[in-house]
């Protein structure tokens, strides 16, 4: 797999010059957690922040991939360039994955202004992979106007997409779940736009009513009330309106100051997650493989010690060691 040993610096340069092979390879470098990936991301950072990022989430089979294809076609009609990142689950047993979202995206497969990339979750929960947001950033630096991120088929708590996207579309289909499902926490709370897809199926209007009823009793809603749209991604019905709504939401975010506020919160979250990850990495690098560490684990499993105090002890010592 020698193609990934190329220098990160060269790949960064290629990405900024619009070389899609370098774009693809840099994303792989990041996914594979190559030691040079951070350096590449760090030098790309100042070139990012220009793309509008749209998240599409919803249960398996709700038509997310087809919806993404249609939204892309509409943006292309409006002469915008598009990057698509689709996440599918990796097997928890083998780590392998079957990434099949491209199948529905044939019509864009030769458009040079559309870039499609599939990612496996690689053990990460939350609806995305650990490095989806980094991949989005690389596509952003590459210069796509719009980036669409499709999550894995989401149930109720795969809500990580809100940390990545400016506008989150939650797609649902008629006939799934009753009105109690609609007021549960989680995925139903994160929508900026609701889509009831497969609008030709029976119960579509009822679904719209249920979601609207849920929104009616929402006490925490800001000035943006998520619209509930009917679409038929197969025929393209409702897609133009959906893309208009994404634009309206973007305008709302900018004018209300939410954009800046969300950006600040996102930067803080990201910095803290990164520090947590790096600290853990450093700590484990020191501990793993030492006999003391293995013995401590053994003792915990025999109930001779407990994980709470062991963790505290190990961290305290790590911090003292760092000071010296």
């Amino acid at each position: 797999m020698g193609d990934l040993t190329l220098s990160a610096e060269k790949l960064v340069k290629g990405v900024l010059q619009g070389n899609r092979r370098d774009l693809a390879r840099l994303i792989s470098l990041i996914e594979d957690e190559d030691p040079s990936a951070d350096e590449a991301l760090s030098s790309l950072y100042k070139h990012t922040g220009k793309s509008l990022i749209v998240g599409v989430t919803g249960p398996p089979g709700s038509g997310k991939s087809t919806l993404v294809t249609r939204i892309t076609a509409e943006y292309r009609r409006r002469e915008k360039t598009v990057g698509i990142i689709c996440v599918d689950p990796s097997s928890p047993f083998t780590g392998g994955a079957l990434l099949g979202d491209r199948i529905r995206m044939q019509e864009h497969s030769l458009d040079k202004d559309v870039y499609v990339r599939s990612m496996g979750t690689r053990g990460h929960l939350g609806g995305l992979s650990r490095h989806t947001s980094d991949a989005v950033r690389v596509v952003d630096a590459f210069g796509k106007d719009i980036i669409i991120v499709e999550t894995v088929g989401a149930g109720q708590s795969e809500v990580e997409i809100i940390e990545v996207a400016h506008t989150v579309i939650v797609a649902d289909v008629p006939g799934a779940g009753d009105d109690i499902q609609a007021i549960k926490a989680g995925i139903m709370e994160i929508a900026d736009i609701f889509v009831v897809n497969k609008s030709d199926l029976a119960g579509a209007d009822k679904k719209v009513t249920e979601i609207n009823a849920m929104l009616d009793i929402d006490q925490n809603m800001g000035a943006w009330r998520p619209p509930v749209l009917l679409t038929n991604a197969r025929t393209g019905e409702g897609i133009e309106e959906l893309v208009d709504k994404i634009g309206e939401h973007h305008t709302y975010l900018t004018e209300s100051g939410d954009f800046a506020e969300r950006g600040l919160k996102r930067s803080k979250d990201e910095l803290e997650q990164l520090m947590e990850y790096k600290l853990t990495l450093e700590l484990l690098k020191k501990l793993r493989g030492t006999s003391e560490y293995e013995e401590a684990i053994q003792k915990i499993s025999e109930r001779k010690d407990d994980p709470y105090s062991v963790a505290e002890r190990l961290i305290a010592r790590f911090l003292t060691d760092q000071r010296e």
Partner: protein
């Protein structure tokens, strides 16, 4: 969770040409998945251009071409040619399907590394890819 190598072999399983039979391709895709690889399946009826574009965009290490229509002598060399044009020289290309023995030498000469005919045990394909991925 941490410190484990997360490097994965990425494979594009593609169906170039006009035959609509992808049971074999799906079974191979599944076997590669179960061997821990990330498999991107293109779906049916791909032109050589579409296959090469997908391979570039997805930064795959391996391309597996499945064809049952008999058009392999036209499509495989065209795909190899396009890969060359794109400067892709580090991807392992293998093929499978209904391909007569007599055609295999010419396909290999244009850069297809191996052809797996009907009845090939899945493990043979997995082992070949694992051993030969560039």
């Amino acid at each position: 969770m941490y410190l484990s190598s997360s490097k994965k072999i990425r494979v594009l399983v593609a169906k170039p040409g006009l035959d609509g039979h992808d049971r074999g391709a799906k079974i191979v895709a599944r076997a590669l998945r179960d061997a821990g690889m990330e498999v991107i399946y293109t779906g049916l009826r791909q032109t050589p251009e579409m296959v090469v574009r997908a391979a570039v965009d997805e930064a795959v290490h391996v391309i597996g071409l499945s064809i049952l229509s008999g058009a392999h002598n036209a499509l495989f060399p065209r795909i190899m040619e396009l890969l060359k044009e794109e400067g892709v020289d580090d991807v392992l290309v293998v093929g499978g399907g209904i391909i007569p023995e007599d055609d295999i030498p010419a396909l290999k000469a244009c850069g297809v590394a191996e052809i797996f005919g009907p009845g090939t045990p899945l493990q043979v394909i997995v082992d070949y890819i694992t051993a030969n991925v560039k």
